[in-house]
């Protein structure tokens, strides 16, 4: 056997071992930065509080609400059936199990949309699709769903339709009493029932 063969074999082995160290640096699959930037530019990830309310009311089984606030804030108040994954622990392996479930749409929310958006970017970097951000966060949730304001009288009909929906949603989420009317001048409504004149007597 030639001495050169040993030499070449040793070199090949060395290179092969070298490649093992290369792949170690990147454990999780990530999408390319320019692809991520492209995704970031798209405004399609935002959903409004109205849409979220509608999905909750309809009991949509495909939505997964992720609360990225702290556990303390989560304990005080959150949306129905929300899962708490604080932003700090969003890329841990146990948290990542909640993402990428086929057929599930993940909706991130926080006090406003900033933390939720940051959570969205982090999971997007890992290549998860079907993730959304509730625009305005819980602050807007309160402003629109829990305490909706009535549109001006000159507002277009669509705004009144939205308002009607929000009033309905308010009742759904808080159990508030139904407001019959907001007109203060209205007098007492007295309902007069026609008296039955003759009581039923006897039978067949």
């Amino acid at each position: 056997m030639n001495r050169n063969y040993f030499f070449l074999t040793a070199l090949m082995l060395l290179l092969a071992i070298g490649t093992m160290f290369l792949s170690k640096s990147e454990q999780q699959k990530q999408i390319e930065p320019d692809k991520l930037l492209w995704e970031i530019i798209q405004p399609t990830r935002y959903v409004s509080t109205d849409e979220v309310a509608k999905l909750i009311i309809q009991n949509d089984p495909s939505i997964e609400l992720i609360d990225v606030r702290t556990p303390k804030e989560f304990a005080e108040f959150s949306l129905p059936n929300a899962i708490n994954i604080p932003l700090d622990s969003i890329v841990t392996t146990s948290s990542l199990e909640y993402f990428g479930i086929p057929g599930m749409n993940v909706i991130f929310f926080s006090n406003d949309a900033i933390q939720a958006d940051q959570g969205w970017v982090m999971t997007k970097r890992l290549g998860f699709d079907a993730t959304y951000v509730m625009k305005g966060g819980l602050n807007r949730w309160i402003e629109t769903i829990i305490q909706p304001t009535e549109p001006k009288e000159t507002a277009p009909q669509t705004e009144f339709d939205i308002y009607q929906f929000r009033k309905g949603a308010q009742i759904y989420f808080t159990g508030a009493k139904v407001e019959t009317t907001t007109n203060a001048k209205k007098n007492k409504v007295v309902i007069k029932r026609r008296k039955k004149t003759v009581t039923a007597s006897g039978g067949c």
């Binding site: 070199l11 108040f77 007597s201």
Partner: protein
């Protein structure tokens, strides 16, 4: 008799050619324009850095031309930019930011230690781009808190915003739990006068139905 024994230098030539090929391949490899410099944990920690954000009050230094090492980049589209922008800002829309020439420009700013401040209409609009550029290693990129809208509302007195915190996002504006639980107290804001409850009188049954089958 081996073929290599005829030309002892043959192995060496092959070896040199092989390594040369590897070296050439390595240098001519198509390098991606951007690559992540911060891993996931570092990126998350980076979000909390105070110095990664640009306070509205600091805009004064830029507007008065006192500091030459700040560059403002308006990432909105040209139409919005044309309608109004912070004086002296450069318009590179988010769509164009990833173009090679703009990346080179950012690299140049980084070399010269120039702070690049990104802004959109609000902080949210610039949030994603800001995160990405910090993750790919541009640690001179900052985001303008409050965005253009806040600037527009406070343009006359930006210094006053130093003591304010209303541009800082992330905190709860309301006591959610209280509002969501106050079941019967919630009423529409338009009703100011007291409303009298509507009494519904139910008819009393006068007589018992007697008889029957």
């Amino acid at each position: 008799m081996n073929v290599h024994d005829l030309n002892p230098k043959k192995t060496l030539i092959t070896l040199v050619a092989f390594t040369l090929l590897l070296v050439i391949g390595f240098f001519t490899m198509n390098k991606p324009l951007l690559s992540y410099q911060l891993n996931l944990e570092q990126s998350l920690a980076d979000l909390k850095l105070e110095e990664a954000c640009f306070q509205p009050a600091d805009l004064n230094a830029f507007l008065t031309q006192d500091s030459k090492d700040i560059i403002l980049i308006d990432i909105r589209d040209r139409f919005s930019f044309g309608q109004g922008h912070i004086p002296g800002a450069k318009n590179i829309s988010a769509y164009d930011l990833s173009q090679e020439e703009n990346i080179e420009l950012l690299n140049e700013y980084k070399m010269n230690k120039v702070t690049v401040v990104l802004y959109g209409n609000d902080q949210l609009q610039a949030n994603g781009s800001w995160m990405l550029f910090r993750q790919v290693g541009f640690d001179n990129v900052k985001v303008l808190l409050g965005g253009y809208n806040y600037y527009l509302a406070h343009a006359k007195d930006l210094m006053a915003s130093k003591d304010l915190t209303d541009y800082k996002l992330g905190s709860a504006k309301y006591d959610y739990a209280k509002l969501a639980q106050a079941k019967n107290e919630i009423s529409s804001s338009s009703t100011t006068t007291k409303k009298k409850p509507i009494k519904i009188r139910r008819k009393k049954k006068k007589a018992v139905a007697s008889g029957g089958c």
